[in-house]
């Protein structure tokens, strides 16, 4: 045993504190024993005298009352063991606020996906396409959707989950670029349509023999304008996200160089 003189900090300083040599095992025994106490004894007595069915009920009640989640370890392998099933957790409004922004974004993306999917289906049935505006929900419905999504995010403990964060970043990186490209294309097409309507000459390619190609006749020019109009109308139907359809025009045999 080693005694150490106390440093003199005040008049009431004890002379020393006893410091022994020891091992971890000698001090860690405090964690080895089962814990007792009135509450524990009472609960264990009740549990041990209960039938098998009653024990299951006790455990179910415990899990519901305490909101146990078998999260992280073990539960991912067996979904049935998720004790959050069947229990209704009351979520306060202020607890969801942190998730509203990312929930809004998810709903925006999903709406776009729904429009595309629906229009794909409608087209296959030779039916009229719909626009995003036609799918617009009421403010109340929208709020309810946001709240539901926020609950999902909160359940998975994600203020901004990695997936949403990825969508954010992709939206920021690609969305702006796509918008700029599409706008440029639209402006170009509008100019071309205007020029075609005004009957301006198309760009002429000079062959080797010095002969020039004929300017397309009116019928051909009108077909070109009509083709462009169809494309333009299709683009107008999808607001908020424009697809580059310029390739369609390029494949049109009436396009003139």
């Amino acid at each position: 045993m080693e005694s150490i003189k106390a440093l003199e900090h005040n008049d009431n300083t004890p002379d020393f504190v006893e410091v022994e040599e020891g091992s971890f095992d000698s001090i860690a025994g405090i964690f080895d024993s089962e814990k007792g106490g009135n509450t524990i004894e009472k609960e264990l007595d009740e549990f041990s005298s209960a039938s098998s069915t009653e024990k299951d009920e006790i455990n179910s009640t415990i899990e519901e009352e305490n909101g146990f989640n078998l999260d992280d370890l073990g539960s991912s392998e067996d979904e049935d063991s998720d004790s959050s099933e069947g229990q209704e957790e009351v979520v306060q409004e202020d607890e969801l606020e942190d998730y509203f922004e990312s929930a809004e974004f998810i709903i925006f993306i999903i709406e776009l996906a729904i429009v595309w999917g629906t229009n794909y289906y409608l087209k296959s049935k030779n039916l009229d396409k719909i626009t995003k505006d036609e799918l617009e929900v009421t403010a109340r419905q929208h709020k309810s959707l946001v709240k539901s999504w926020a609950k999902v995010l909160r359940k998975h403990k994600a203020k901004v989950s990695p997936e949403v964060e990825l969508l954010f970043n992709m939206g920021a990186s690609y969305g702006i670029k796509i918008q700029a490209i599409v706008k440029k294309q639209e402006d170009r097409k509008k100019r071309e349509i205007q020029e075609a309507r005004q009957g301006k000459k198309m760009q002429v390619v000079q062959p080797r023999q010095g002969k020039s190609k004929k300017v397309p006749d009116k019928q051909t020019r009108e077909a070109v304008i009509k083709g462009e109009k169809i494309v333009e109308e299709e683009e107008e139907e999808v607001k908020g996200f424009r697809l580059d359809k310029s390739k369609k025009i390029e494949q049109d045999p009436t396009v003139l160089i």
Binding site: I30, F31, I40, N66, L70, D72, L73
Partner: protein, 211 residues
């Protein structure tokens, strides 16, 4: 196995890379050994659980099915702990979980009911000043690794006899100074620290090798 009423509120303090988490692993292993020796069918599902707050994910490998992980930003974790019995809660880098100094009502209840519910609480911080005010009064045992800084600051948020604690701080620091950084690393997993019991004012040197 004989039952004992009570619980332990243990504070593990020490600067970075002094062995705090390593010793916490040893404590958890002992808890796991205990619960392995008990037939879980004889106990309700809220018994013998391990709760871990572990930002750097160094303790996850010791957890079992049904154990609880607390993550930053989680709400209601205090209530979950209050529902447990004969369980262990380990908070590594505790201050990250509790960024301000306020103790919630439920956290205070945990301290109040820990004896009755048999909850062992282990808080790991790199300096005692990271314990919220008042909370340090609930700590009854310490594992003190090397801690730097001012003595007065050191004891300001420590429970127990201040002079004894300062002595221990210097004892550990002086011993650790005899090692170079690489030599200290080679001590793994037997890093030197002092165990201090607040109630008995008793200290035990662990892993102190003669230099």
């Amino acid at each position: 196995m004989a039952k004992e009423r009570g619980s332990n509120a243990l504070g593990i303090v020490g600067t970075n890379n002094t062995g705090k988490t390593v010793i916490a692993e040893e404590v958890i292993k002992r808890f796991n050994k205990k619960r392995d020796s008990l037939n879980s069918k004889n106990y309700p599902s809220n018994y013998h659980k391990l709760v871990v707050f572990d930002v750097q994910d160094r303790l996850g490998h010791l957890m079992r099915e049904g154990d609880i992980t607390i993550k930053i930003g989680d709400k209601g974790w205090e209530k979950k702990i209050l529902g447990l019995r004969d369980s262990m809660c380990v908070f590594d880098d505790f201050r990250v979980l509790l960024p301000n100094d306020s103790l919630s009502d439920d956290l205070l209840k945990i301290f109040g009911f820990r004896m009755e519910y048999g909850l062992d609480l282990i808080f790991i911080v790199w300096h005692p000043t990271l314990f919220p005010p008042r909370m340090h009064r609930f700590i009854d045992k310490y594992y003190i690794f090397r801690v730097g800084g001012d003595d007065k600051e050191f004891v300001s948020r420590m429970n127990g006899d201040k002079d004894s604690l300062i002595n221990i701080k210097h004892l550990v620091s002086n011993h650790c100074l005899t090692y170079s950084q690489s030599e200290y690393g080679k001590l793994y997993p037997n890093f030197p620290f002092v165990y201090y019991d607040v109630q008995t004012n008793k200290a035990v040197k662990i892993n102190f090798k003669k230099r």
